[in-house]
């Protein structure tokens, strides 16, 4: 039975390209909008890719910049220089 992983980001200019990258790269996401925040749910796993965000913002981007926009997350975290991945094993 799939378990939902989730990432919640502030609804700001900084986070907008990240949200776009996530929904483009991860099929079958559900995006919930609440006051000031966006919550993205997906079954089993979700990945934020550095290249995908960089394409959208036109500069180098460090996945750890997510810390500036993150409100909450659910799932086990695996992170490296090129990605930030949440999943349930």
């Amino acid at each position: 039975m799939p378990r939902i992983v989730s990432i919640t980001l502030q609804n700001t200019d900084d986070a907008r390209p990240i949200i776009e990258a996530i929904t483009a790269d991860n099929a079958d996401c559900t995006v919930h909008s609440y006051p000031g925040i966006v919550k993205i749910d997906r079954d089993d796993s979700l990945t934020v890719r550095r290249s995908s965000v960089e394409q959208r913002i036109g500069r180098d981007w460090d996945p750890q910049e997510l810390h500036l926009s993150m409100v909450s997350m659910a799932g086990n975290l695996d992170e490296d220089d090129d990605y930030f991945n949440l999943s349930w094993s």
Binding site: R3, G36, H67, N76, D81
Partner: protein, 505 residues
């Protein structure tokens, strides 16, 4: 010439944290880490700890500094633009008086608690994570103080929060919660705060206050809230790693951890009763009811979590069913306590309007009209007669949670749930089976409680009269306390609004 290859994130992190640890060669482990064994927790292999986040100190400083720059820019703007005039209603400010005096000192306590754990655990991974959380908590204390200092320029009740933390009767509730956690061993602290508070219960604290701020025009608090939440997501992943690590290390850890989960779920639930009343009674524009929040963040989310942890043998916290039943009652019970006791509190209270009572009726269909509407109607009658009710007696306090014993039996909401225990020839009263169990498990600890009501009777709180005690609390009488109606806060607000409509023409 080729540029030298950079180390990957995982390698960098490992070298700068685990790589800087060492095996002691001339001092025994138990001298360096004297608190590591006495709780009975067994760790066989610290290297099995999975780092919840891989932030090296340089990236930590970089990102935290960026968050600070953004936060203070918003606070400056709020201040310059007199943002406090955009609040939905001056009653709202009382919610954040409660937050600053009740929660902010607890952030500082958390800072100290994680600093201790960050030194005392033999494993380098959890030490690093705890040290970062310690810095986060200090940051939260500081940013909350800055955020709320703007309100202190205009509104009463903010001016002595550090002094009051150690003295005022209702503030002993969050204080004793953290005193209990910090005087426990490092593993219990980690489960109490890292897991029970920061994972299981955290959303029940933050979402209501921050959403409440958003709905009521408090941009300053919203901004602080979002800024802190990005730190909180790290705390949550630390909390879940702590419990998994302990349960995976040795089957003998399970009964110890279960006891701690039961205890700290219950203590956390009691403290969150203050948030319940804030949500249901103190927000002019309401987000959702406490009952709804409990359903989403505990029953559903918590249910899912404990299902996952069941594979280790961990059970849903004891008395979770009682807490869930209480979700229909505690906000009303707590508010009506402060209603009658706010002559001795640092914030104002009031009775709900007819419209608000309609909302409460709808949100609490099985309890509000039966038990609490009549009580409010009686208080209204007394206000009409010019005899607004202030209870001049001091209440019986629970020896564990230190809240006035206002909670009622699960199957009989008209009867207070009195519980008591004997220890060394004295009686000790508790408000519930949850608190009684906590007392009975460690009577040596709770028999030492500094209970505000008893301390007043012993003459340790400035004098025998209520007035002397309130002065000892450094409450400004006639300003910080009593009903919202007639308060200096309300008068000032009415003048602002009158001036504004004059200007608008």
């Amino acid at each position: 010439m080729n540029a030298p290859a950079k180390l990957g994130l995982k390698q960098r992190y490992s070298l700068l944290t685990h790589g800087l640890d060492w095996k002691p060669s001339y001092q025994p482990m138990d001298k360096i880490y004297p608190y590591a064994e006495f709780e009975g927790i067994k760790i066989h292999d610290w290297s099995k700890w999975e780092d919840p986040f891989r932030l090296t100190m340089d990236t930590y400083w970089k990102f935290q500094a960026e968050k600070e720059r953004k936060l203070y820019a918003v606070l400056d703007s709020f201040s310059q633009n007199n943002g406090q005039m955009g609040l939905s209603d001056p009653k709202y400010v009382n919610a954040i008086k409660l937050f600053l005096t009740g929660i902010t000192p607890a952030e500082y306590q958390a800072h100290r608690g994680f600093a201790h754990v960050g030194r005392q655990l033999p494993g380098v991974g959890p030490r690093v994570a705890a040290q970062m959380q310690s810095l986060d908590e200090l940051r939260h204390a500081q940013t909350q103080i800055h955020t709320l200092s703007h309100y202190n320029k205009f509104f009463d009740g903010f001016h002595e929060f550090t002094h009051q933390h150690d003295r005022v009767w209702y503030l002993s509730v969050p204080k004793s919660f953290f005193d209990d956690a910090r005087t426990s061993g490092p593993f219990e602290y980690f489960i109490a705060i890292g897991f029970a508070f920061e994972y299981v219960l955290t959303n029940l604290l933050f979402v209501p206050f921050m959403s409440g701020a958003a709905y009521n025009g408090d941009l300053a608090t919203v901004t602080f809230g979002f800024s802190a939440q990005s730190d909180e997501s790290r705390h949550m992943t630390l909390g879940i790693e702590v419990i998994k690590f302990l349960l995976e290390q040795d089957p003998g850890n399970l009964p110890i951890v279960q006891k701690w989960v039961d205890k700290w779920f219950w203590r956390g639930h009691r403290v969150l009763g203050l948030v319940a009343m804030m949500m249901d009674y103190m927000l002019p524009k309401k987000i959702m009811s406490w009952r709804e929040a409990w359903e989403i963040y505990f029953t559903e989310a918590g249910g899912s979590l404990f299902q996952d942890l069941a594979r280790y043998g961990l059970k849903v916290p004891k008395y979770a069913d009682v807490a869930t039943a209480e979700a229909d009652h505690i906000s009303h019970q707590n508010w009506l306590t402060f209603y009658q006791a706010c002559h001795a509190a640092g914030f104002h209270t009031w009775l709900p309007t007819d419209e608000e009572m309609g909302w409460l009726s709808e949100k609490y269909p099985t309890t509000f009209d039966k038990y609490y509407r009549p009580r409010i109607e009686l208080f209204r009658e007394m206000e009409k007669d010019g005899k607004r009710f202030y209870n001049n007696a001091l209440p019986q306090l629970c020896s564990v949670c230190q809240i006035p014993m206002v909670y009622t039996e699960k199957d009989d909401p008209g009867t207070i749930s009195f519980r008591s225990s004997e220890y060394k020839g004295d009686k000790y009263h508790t408000c519930s089976d949850g608190c009684k169990d906590i007392f009975d498990n460690e009577p040596e600890k709770y028999s030492q409680a500094w209970l505000p009501v008893h301390q007043i009777f012993q003459g340790n709180c400035g004098g025998a009269t209520i007035e002397e005690v309130l002065k000892w609390y450094k409450l400004n009488l006639g300003a910080d306390n009593l009903d919202q109606a007639g308060s200096p806060d309300q008068k000032m607000w009415d003048e602002w609004m009158a001036a504004r409509s004059r200007v608008a023409g």
